[in-house]
Symmetry: C2
Subunit: 726 residues, 2 copies
């Protein structure tokens, strides 16, 4: 027989309310299949033990197979494995419907609504040693994890490999990047699963400090689309004290399976009961927009334990950064030398004449930020050590507290404070996490003393401890350690080159954003494909906010006369759209101030756009093709819409049904000009003010590689006078 979930009470949305907790002892039904459905009944999860007591699950959506019967288990080092020989000793179901408010986010309130199945599995042959598998079935997908309760015969153990299988139902289209223990900064390949083997070599482009997985593997979040129109996203949630998971690919049978990142000695997880794995997540829908709207991964993360979160704030910032990539006139390093060591007298270096982070330049940026309403200025290259920071597996690279001779921390801080602007600290570690950890308290004390309340961290290079990887258990714990310790000092963290996110910004809300994907910097190093940013929200951003650093107005980089014909592969208008389509509670305006001064009307959108939201509406979406999103600013009657396309032009259908009914609003539309193209005349755009209501339907043209942005505000009768209603 099947176990149907209890009929739900009518949930009270937006208040925390545990609808039901029903523990059912099922001892008389053991060995039979356990089934639960999602609250809306569209999803069905079935669990059973197959021959030899192997845990097996399957998942369907509207009666279509999403995951065909797939086995579950873990291989253990120097100890019997959790692979088979199981019997079910207990099975319990319960239902939860509550809601919670993130500190910052795309929605003011998030509903957490699921039916749960928890099976307890014991191995008679191993003294009844047991584990639990917990399944949570939401309307938008499935999360499940392995749990290892405290028990006499299980305390410490080491994972050799996790063997969680995902038997897909067909040869889906997949948006993928190569499996790699150290970097997620690959460009996406779109193919059938069966084509992955033949495309892997080409897809594995050179990246600093990469370690491609030897087996055929792709990274998560893995976005797929079936031939019959199902969108399937596999990732993980709450990656804590465990290595990141990639997916081995059986391209003939369309089967994926977990591949954990090993440590320096080849182990894949040091565990002590009571403990659990991260959640393995499968977000499913027949609408691509529902994938982007999913809050399943956040819901599977634990609430924060921080008592005070008042110091965690959204922000827009500029920075001494993009000029290092494009202008050719400045750089991080101060000295000409290619050999420096911490502790030496850096005032004795021979200045290279190109140091970007000078007191003077910092003040210019601060003045620009203050004038244009930015919260903060990032200054990279302020601290000693950049002369030979990369490629040497050097441990004592930076000390995070010693400024170059031409950068006066105190003077910059005082000037910034007088202007009401914050400086965003920059801690590049060069991958030397041990060096960072041993200096961390002192680095954060230095920040407190000098008025910094946010830090951009970087992990460019091979990891130290040597042999560890960016995505291994040790580094996973490192990133969390940094976030927690930063919280002690009320510091926000924006990590670059860290492991891909898994919703931990719920638990550690001061870990405000991450890079962890191929971001804007690559526009200056070969360029991003125009479709890249139509894929990222379906992949990288499923795990959490991305510090993509948009806002490049001068897209043709030959402008700088530094040689080469490099260009940013978007129109200017598309760069504006990113502030809405690429969610992050911190957003950079990445271009050089001079370029914003050249396009003041377009720059107005960046100045206006919100970065924290009450509501989000995914209006249109197709991975690899287009995305249109509308959002309501947190606590304001202001809405912002962003729409992007891939290399093709299209006409977006923008609706406004989320606007309060019966009221007219002024919409300012920043759009590609008809002759614009990512590759030609990318700076041709139009700015138009019109009147919109909740009934408006806008057909908005998008150029090839282009986009549009709309800001919507209340307006006086006078302000609306003469504006067209559409």
């Amino acid at each position: 027989m099947n176990f149907k979930p209890k009929k739900m009470l009518i949930p009270f949305r937006y208040i925390i309310h545990l609808v039901g907790l029903f523990l059912v002892c099922l001892s008389s039904f053991l060995g039979q299949a356990q089934v639960i459905s999602s609250p809306d009944k569209n999803l069905s999860l079935q669990f059973e033990l197959s021959a030899n007591g192997v845990p097996t699950y399957q998942l369907s959506y509207k009666n279509k197979a999403v995951i065909k019967p797939s086995s579950l288990g873990l291989e253990i080092k120097d100890s019997p494995s959790f692979m088979d020989g199981f019997s079910i000793t207990n099975s319990a179901q319960n239902s939860v419907d509550n809601s919670w408010n993130p500190v910052m986010g795309e929605e003011k309130t998030i509903r957490n609504h699921y039916n749960e199945l928890v099976v307890t599995l014991a191995q008679v042959q191993n003294n009844n040693r047991y584990i639990r598998i917990r399944f949570r079935l939401f309307d938008d997908g499935l999360g499940f994890r392995y749990e290892f309760p405290k028990q006499n015969d299980l305390n410490y153990f080491v994972i050799k490999e996790e063997h969680t299988e995902f038997q897909l139902a067909g040869n889906h289209k997949i948006f993928w990047i190569p499996g790699d223990y150290d970097t997620n900064e690959y460009a996406y390949t779109t193919s059938k699963i069966s084509e992955i083997p033949s495309l892997m070599k080409k897809a594995t482009i050179p990246i600093n400090a990469q370690q491609p997985i030897q087996e055929l593997a792709v990274q998560t979040p893995s976005m797929m689309k079936s031939e019959d129109g199902l969108y399937i996203n596999i990732h993980e949630a709450a990656l804590i004290n465990y290595p990141a998971m990639s997916l081995n690919v059986d391209a003939e049978n369309f089967k994926m399976s977990s591949h954990l990142t090993p440590d320096a000695v080849g182990s894949k997880g040091y565990m002590q009961t009571d403990t659990q794995t991260p959640w393995r997540t499968i977000v499913v829908s027949d609408k691509a927009t529902e994938i982007l709207a999913s809050k399943l991964i956040l819901n599977l993360n634990e609430p924060t334990s921080y008592k005070d979160v008042s110091w965690i704030k959204p922000m827009k910032y500029i920075g001494i950064w993009w000029e290092y990539f494009v202008a050719g006139k400045s750089t991080w390093a101060y000295g000409k030398e290619n050999n420096v060591k911490l502790g030496q007298d850096f005032t004795k270096l021979t200045p290279n004449g190109k140091h970007g982070a000078t007191t003077e330049r910092a003040k210019e940026y601060i003045a620009f930020a203050a004038k244009n309403g930015f919260d903060a200025v990032l200054i990279e290259g302020w601290n000693v050590g950049w002369e030979d920071w990369i490629g040497n597996w050097k441990e004592d690279v930076f000390d995070f507290v010693t400024a170059y001779p031409d950068f006066d921390v105190k003077a910059v801080h005082e000037f910034a404070a007088s202007k009401g602007v914050k400086i965003m600290m920059h801690h590049e570690t060069s991958g030397s996490a041990t060096n960072y950890e041993r200096r961390l308290d002192r680095a954060f004390e230095f920040m407190n003393e000098n008025g910094y309340d946010a830090v951009k961290t970087g992990y460019v290079g091979q990891i130290i401890p040597r042999g560890e990887h960016h995505d291994g258990q040790w580094m996973v714990n490192h990133y969390i350690h940094v976030a927690q310790r930063a919280a002690d000092y009320k510091i926000m963290v924006n990590s670059h080159e860290a492991v891909r996110p898994t919703g931990l910004n719920r638990t550690y809300p001061n870990w405000v954003a991450q890079e962890s994907a191929r971001g804007t910097e690559f526009e200056a190093m070969g360029g991003l494909a125009p479709e890249h940013t139509t894929i990222l929200p379906f992949t990288r951003l499923m795990g959490g906010p991305m510090d993509f650093t948009p806002g490049i107005f001068q897209t043709d980089l030959s402008y700088y006369n530094t040689g080469g014909k490099q260009r940013v592969n978007t129109t200017l208008a598309k760069q504006l759209a990113y502030y809405v389509t690429m969610y992050s509670p911190i957003q950079m305006a990445a271009d050089i101030p001079d370029n914003y001064n050249r396009f003041p009307d377009a720059f107005q959108f960046i100045k206006d756009v919100a970065v924290d939201w009450d509501n989000t509406y995914i209006l249109e979406a197709e991975p690899g093709d287009y995305i249109t999103i509308a959002r309501r600013a947190k606590g304001k009657k202001e809405w912002f819409v962003g729409g992007i396309s891939d290399e093709n032009s299209r006409t977006a259908k923008v609706t406004f049904e989320y606007l309060p009914k019966g009221t007219k609003y002024i919409a300012t539309i920043y759009a590609d000009a008809k002759d614009a193209n990512w590759n030609e005349k990318p700076q041709n755009y139009t700015v138009t003010k019109v009147i919109v209501t909740s009934k408006t339907v806008l057909k908005q043209y998008i150029a090839p590689g282009g986009g549009f942005a709309i800001s919507i505000k209340e307006g006086s009768f006078r302000a609306m006078k003469g504006l067209q209603k559409i």
Copy 2:
């Protein structure tokens, strides 16, 4: 032709005085042998390039070969090696004679007197990339190292292996322990070099977290004696930012060669010019006493850069420690559970009823320390985490700031302060160095806040970062990092289970002592051979002070009725001798206070004995057999003598010529009774007061496994009345 050293000016001892610096450009003599002699001419060092430009050296003592022609070089990863193809581009000699005063030590003033040869070696085939080899020849031996100056074609490089050879002149007797990357806590084997292969397996006894070297190898300091009576000791000095060296053994050809400790990925040293290797040291004499008197290793270390050393002080201490090994009534852990995690509520554990570090017990020890003039009390097991601290490769083992529920840090501190006694902090890391580093600042702040000024550190277990070793470059840097950071907080460090010392207590004088060998704790775990402590000063202590933790009065451990017939393999009197024969500026009285109360007359010696010295006189010594040492207390007219024997009885010849002439002193002699034996009646001893002068020659009986101790003080006429003059 040979280059003879310049004739020396008459040195002014005890003042810093650079006798001469003679740079001699030798371009016209390249390719010929370079020779220097020791200041006393007994030692001669010859360097030349052999065929194919291989650097080669040889060393003789009084015209006897110590090291026959042996090659030098280093193998480099992913780059040409420094092995051959060299030509000499420069050669320089100079002579130094100065002296310096250690913060604490065996001598108030140490003379640094050597002749130096520096050869610059270039490889034409590698763009004239060059290295230097620096030889310093003292009267007591040779030190040499490789130097890598800054140059265009050499910046970063990684060492694959160092190939420094020591071609010995014969099949010497050797006192050795197996080569091991993780532990130096082996018992010594005495054999011919040729016998090492057949004895290695037996010598490699099980030790926690050991990693025996796969090749045939022994550790340094390696003590040897030739058939014609030469004593030869090979070790290293100033081990900084480099892995510790073991010695591969070619037992057929009596050739040793360097074997560096690898890191997690098999590399053996990450180098950046300007840099150098540690010094390779060969202490040589035809008198064993001169080996023990050698200050060559200290002289090869850099002076300290600490500006204030006033807070670094010698100390005698007791501790809640030995009872954990023997009494069976107490232990480190508080809870019965075998599974705990930092962050849990430790007040909810089930007390095991045997926790040693309670507030009450601490106060008892403090009161005893105050009553008997001890400076400090070590309290192990005060902090949470001991329930499952070992054997699990667990990272977050201890936090170093959270006390068990029954230990009141504040109350203990206040009680100790009221008694004028310090508490010695205990930081067991369980080998989890990363965990210690990330908590270090907070741990030291906690010490400052609670009145601790010294810490005993421990590294029992496999190292984290996983794959690293106790003796690898990363850990070598870790120990120094801890010492340096401790200095920031004016904290002294006494490290256990760390890499063997190499004289760094000169450079980091707050690193006051180390264990780093098989110490007293093993008397409770199988026992130490009676000869063990006649070998240690010739091996382990060549590198620096040892926290051997002597002073066990209750040597028959069956006394505690905890089962077994374990015993400490010495007489009681020998335990007293250790305070003189085993040099350390911190000395523990390791036994339980009750046992000292039972033997108040013997205990008087421990109360009296100094731990810091103006002068040291090695009166008699033979490795493996006996040692007799006299020392003058720092700044006092007090002398202490200690003599020990191996498993055989003997009569020591104790002379007193170091006493001021013409004055009578009262000597209190603590000696084995005639019927005493390490194995029988070990607590039978005599205490005799006699009068001695500088002319006295005392024939002192030592029982098998026994020893004696003498304290010598000025005395009034009245006090001397009736005492025998000997």
